[in-house]
């Protein structure tokens, strides 16, 4: 049997998650401070007669969590068959959101590294031409990451190694002393 406490517990945790995302996403400048539309989510509309599953256009993570919360809050009053279907959708989308936030945090760390390289680039003894070339690589990489997340954010899983390698090479070029 479904227990009200379990659903309430999930709702409480999600509200906490929403708050933490709101705080953390202030730093995600490359995703419009968390307002970039990244994920399709299902809005479940309840009427007395039926339940409608409306696939929304892409929304931000914060909005996605709000929709998920609204979907959950209506679960209490439904019959078993309907609850199962809704819980299945909620599970799938919650899992996608989790994956997305994991990806964003990972990408954000790499972007911070790129920003750091950009900052120290001017103080290095590299020639102007090389500096310009490296700046182009840094800017291009950040733009590419932005583009991935704004178009197909789950593509990050296939691309992450590329950016990690670029960061590693920049680290070698700018920070490690030549032996």
């Amino acid at each position: 049997m479904i227990s009200t406490e379990n659903i309430t517990e999930i709702i409480k945790k999600l509200e906490k998650i929403k708050e933490r995302i709101r705080e953390e996403s202030i730093d995600w400048w490359w995703l419009d401070q968390g307002d970039a539309a990244l994920i399709n989510i299902t809005k479940i509309e309840y009427t007395k007669k039926e339940i409608k599953y409306v696939k929304m256009p892409k929304v931000s993570i914060k909005t996605a969590i709000t929709i998920l919360l609204n979907n959950l809050k209506n679960v209490y009053s439904l019959s078993k068959g309907k609850r199962i279907q809704i819980m299945s959708t909620i599970n799938e989308e919650l899992n996608e959101l989790l994956e997305l936030v994991e990806n964003i945090r990972e990408a954000h760390k790499i972007i911070e590294e790129f920003e750091f390289f950009d900052k120290i680039l001017d103080s290095t003894e590299k020639g102007e031409e090389e500096k310009a070339e490296l700046k182009k690589i840094i800017k291009g990489s950040i733009n590419w990451i932005k583009e991935i997340f704004h178009t197909k954010p789950f593509e990050w899983e296939k691309r992450r190694e590329t950016f990690k390698n670029i960061a590693k090479k920049l680290h070698k070029t700018l920070i490690e002393k030549p032996k």
Partner: protein
């Protein structure tokens, strides 16, 4: 005391002893060919121990004698599987150590504690990791099937019923889909289908975690782990419909449990745990 059970267990013990001795003879021959007298001597010692693995009727009351027979039969079933599965994989002294430890369980006064013996054997075999689990599963299965097929499910002790439940639960857990069919249990366990049906009916009345409907059997735990993987890997809709028809409450509960897990993981991620 059931005559059938006594005779079956005595025959099982005799048969297992002779099979084990054949394995040991073969290993002994190999050791002698390699002029490895240390291993040969060790095997002779083991052979002697195996020879004594039959409880003495005069030492027990009739009921105790049956329990002792059960314990000896179970130990011999594990020993047989151990030799069959790992005799060419593990060093002989390691095999001998485990065998002697298992033998000492029935020799050391535990012969009337069937449940204790099963647990101790499981722990000992777990030191061999995956293969140890296989030895335990197969040894248990052969012991149980011998009793069920010869004398019926009713002749299993309470601990035997528990072992049977464990065997079936681990079969369900090993399936790719979220359940197992009666036919599959019957084939994998080596028990006739009509007998299997009776067993499942009885077991699900004793152990409510075993779910059974329309020849489909599952457990709450299996449904939960399956849902978790299905959500993660974004696969399979067909089986969900089946579960929805057969075990709606457990399916719903699995979704709730998984949603709780996901929010916890989400929270931990954000809190940096």
């Amino acid at each position: 005391m059931s005559m059938c059970l006594r005779k079956t267990l005595e025959a099982f013990i005799r048969h297992k002893r002779s099979t084990i001795n054949e394995w040991i003879m073969e290993l002994k021959r190999q050791a002698l060919i390699n002029l490895d007298t240390t291993t040969a001597n060790m095997l002779i010692e083991l052979e002697n121990h195996i020879g004594t693995l039959m409880p003495l009727k005069t030492q027990y009351s009739p009921n105790e004698y049956i329990t002792a027979l059960r314990s000896h039969a179970l130990i011999l079933s594990y020993l047989n599987e151990l030799l069959e599965m790992v005799k060419n994989m593990l060093p002989p002294d390691m095999i001998r150590d485990i065998m002697l430890k298992m033998i000492s369980l029935v020799k050391g006064g535990l012969s009337l504690d069937f449940g204790g013996i099963a647990i101790q054997c499981k722990n000992l075999l777990q030191s061999l990791h995956e293969i140890g689990n296989q030895i335990f599963a197969e040894g248990t299965r052969k012991y149980l099937v011998t009793i069920i097929e010869s004398c019926g499910f009713g002749e299993l002790s309470k601990e035997g019923e528990f072992l049977l439940r464990e065997s079936i639960a681990s079969l369900i857990q090993s399936m790719e889909k979220p359940y197992i069919t009666m036919e599959e249990i019957s084939m994998k366990m080596g028990i006739k289908e009509n007998q299997t049906k009776k067993i499942i009916k009885k077991l699900s009345s004793i152990y409510p975690e075993i779910l059974s409907k329309n020849d489909i059997i599952s457990t709450r735990q299996k449904i939960e782990t399956w849902i978790e993987n299905t959500i993660k890997e974004k696969v399979s809709e067909e089986e969900v419909h089946k579960l929805k028809d057969l075990f709606p409450e457990q399916l719903e509960s699995a979704y709730i449990t998984n949603a709780k897990k996901l929010t916890k993981m989400f929270n931990n991620l954000l809190e940096g745990e």
